[in-house]
Amino acid sequence: MTGGSEAPGGWIAEALREHAEQDQPDQADLGRPGMTDREQQVLDRIDRARRRRPRVREDRITMSHGAGGKATHTLIEAIFLEAFRNPLLEPLEDAASLALGGSRLALTTDSYVVSPLFFPGGCIGDLAVNGTVNDLAVAGATPRFLSAGFILEEGFPVADLARIAAAIRDAAAAAGVAVVTGDTKVVERGKADGCYINTAGVGVIERDVTLGVARARPGDAILVSGPIGDHGVTIMLARGELDIEADVTSDTAPLAGLAAALLDAVPGVRAMRDATRGGVATILNEIARSAGVGVVVSEDDIPVRPAVRGAAELLGIDPMYVACEGRMVAVVEGGQADAALAALRAHPLGEQAAVIGQVTGESPGVVRLKTAFGGTRIVDLLVGDPLPRIC
């Protein structure tokens, strides 16, 4: 207890000091101008604060670090990027693209800790294949080979493991990939939660395309391939803690075919991302930040199933932040929006695709949403973790 002291907690004092150092120059400007000018100056100051080098303030990992939002970004940039920095890692795309022996490859890895392991529409095995396949697909690659590593808890039912393995086999067959290497570890009871899986994937980039969210330019159109938030809401309800039932199943699916169809139809694809943790909102923010552009989307145009919307309304969460496991966001040249939409809709996984917004030159780094109500607001990166262990 620090009863009565003025600045309890060293971290607060630290934050204040850092802020004071960074913002010396314009403290003086904050004098007498009119109200809106002053608000504008504060906003500019915040923009500068947001561009600061990220620092992890916590001395322990919290659940927020795994949520895919701000804390995850900070952790990745401050710890991992700092330690491993190299040109292939630096874009922080879903997969790295490598030139190797005359061909271009995409490499990615992902770990799966979803709880519960089995849920309507799939299981951890489906996610472990589709999640990794999709990271390759949105890099413009044809997924080819996967590895699979299992961390199992002592006491885990073999029958469940067999079910998961069968799901992996079927999902791999559907996605056209082979699981060619693997690993198995067992930890004592209580040191893990049943079964965790890591998969890595390799794909071949056969097309002459370079994709990346940093390539987005003003005038580009932004599309989603279908209704958002199905997976996250399914998992939330499958946990049974909320006593809500709804007819909704996970959207887990391999996106390689859909991505290929889009790339074949439209030469002007700038970037694709699969909207997993942090949902579509996180991807839109990544576009705005990486490319230094503004993003404007229209709430009316974003497809959300009624059951998902209803559950999200009840729980006070925004479907824009809820994870999908079989949906992607695509950025295409504005003039090719219609062609892109047609190509997505022609594929079974993209029947409900929609153009949801566009890239602008205004307000770089900021995502704005035109609400269905007719107002405008910001869509920021998510802070905190509404839903741990979603995938």
Binding site: M1, T2, G3, G4, S5, E6, A7, P8, G9, W11, I12, A15, L16, E18, H19, R38, E39, Q40, V42, I46, A49, E58, R60, I61, T62, M63, S64, K70, A71, T74, A221, E241, L242, G294, V296, S298, D301, P306, R309, G310, E313, G316, G357, Q358, T360, E362, S363, V366, R368, K370, T371, A372, F373, G374, G375, T376, R377, I378, D380, V383
Partner: protein, 389 residues
């Protein structure tokens, strides 16, 4: 979606906006306080201010359960959570509120057993499943959440559950509104009354505001059209020189409140002589404690609670924001040292906090529409960056 989309209809909003603009006297400035943080959230989330003429300012009030918890109380809760065998349960909103030594989330990362629950009744489930542990529920909130805590206490007593207790931090809204009305630094024209609180207490407790202070009150629902309509009703009262309590949220709020809920609160809890509010200081008879009859479930009596008063960090101006004296962005540390990621003040933590709502939703280079009446013809944010049509 039924029961939602009707209350977010942009066409109706345009029509209401035009009527509001027509009621605004030229040259007069209006300050309307929305008491409840839920309203603040709706206002920013739907971009409702885009519909209002520049002369109407919405001032954010103290009705955010998490925001009004003083730092010392968070430290007390952490102290309880750290006692041997204790499992602390808490609503998710509370998890990121900073105490002197970090938040519940930080404590959880250090190994303290703190679990998020959606309902206080979930704490009973945890208590039943862990008979050798002591479960303490961190109860927060206004009259909205007090009944569910009361029902939980009644259930625990009926079951004779010996390992469950409540750390009671329930507060009541009326003394806070009175403190704001008596505060010299703010001139308000009217109040958007808290809808959820009113489902429990009804509309009558606000009558003193209209009668003694001459300010109109409209109890409002939480959809954007509810709020816009309530602003219209307030403007109409002001134009006609009336000050009355009106109920816009009649589909949910009964004039006399919910007697079953009130009875449950009365049975299990009583007013404290005084309680500290973040930023507002000590307000007498402004909070609830557990009655003697339920002492066996009162964490403040079962455990030693340090009860240390911790001053807010000097730079934090949550108090001024909670009273509506400062707009969130006028706080010295807003958005720079204090962000939703690293909150210094409580207003930046809860989704109902004015600072968090403004930072997450409203922080943009706003080009206000001068005449809301003109908005009826053109989309309100047309100047805000060529949206796809």
């Amino acid at each position: 979606m039924r029961f939602v989309d009707e209350f977010r209809d942009a066409e109706k909003a345009h029509a209401l906006a035009a009527k509001i603009a027509a009621l605004a006297e030229p040259g007069r400035r209006y300050k309307i306080m929305e008491v409840c943080g839920g309203h603040t959230h709706t206002i920013y989330k739907h971009g409702l201010e885009d519909y209002l003429p520049e002369t109407i300012t919405l001032v954010h009030g103290p009705g955010c359960p998490v925001c009004v918890i003083p730092m010392g109380r968070v430290d007390d809760a952490m102290h309880l959570a750290a006692q041997p065998d204790v499992i602390m349960t808490s609503f998710g909103d509370m998890m990121r509120v900073p105490g002197s030594n970090g938040s519940f989330f930080d404590a959880k990362a250090r190994g303290t057993d703190i679990r998020m629950v959606y309902s206080p009744l979930d704490s009973l489930k945890i208590a039943r499943a862990n008979p050798d542990r002591r479960v303490v529920f961190m109860a927060i909130g206004f009259e909205t959440t007090a009944p569910s805590t009361a029902m939980t206490l009644l259930r625990a007593a009926a079951e004779g559950l010996g390992n469950f207790s409540v750390f009671c931090n329930h507060v009541t809204i009326i003394p806070a509104i009175k403190a704001i009305l008596d505060s010299p630094d703010l001139r308000l024209d009217g109040f958007i009354g808290p809808g959820h609180v009113s489902t429990v207490i009804g509309c009558r407790p606000y009558e003193f505001i209209a009668r003694d202070y001459g300010k109109p009150v409209v109890v409002a629902g939480f959809e954007p059209l509810d709020i816009l309509q309530s602003i219209y009703m307030l403007m109409l009262q002001l134009a006609e020189g009336r000050s009355e309590v009106e109920n816009q949220y009649a589909r949910v709020v009964p004039w006399h409140g919910n007697l079953v809920a009130l009875r449950a609160i009365g049975q299990t809890m009583e007013l404290r002589p005084y309680f500290e509010w973040r930023g507002l200081g000590f307000i007498s008879h402004s909070a609830l404690r557990i009655r003697d009859r339920y002492a066996a479930f009162d964490a403040e009596r079962l455990f030693e609670v340090p009860g240390v008063r911790v001053a807010d960090p000097k730079a934090c101006q949550c108090g001024e924001v909670l009273k509506g004296v400062l707009k969130p962005w006028e706080c010295k540390v807003f958005g720079t040292a204090c962000t939703p990621e690293t909150p210094i003040g409580t207003c930046m933590v809860s989704p109902e906090g004015a600072c968090a709502a403004y930072y997450n939703y409203g922080r943009m280079h706003r080009q206000r529409v001068a005449e809301a009446a003109a908005a009826a013809a053109a989309p309100p944010a047309a100047g805000n960056g060529g949206l796809p049509s």
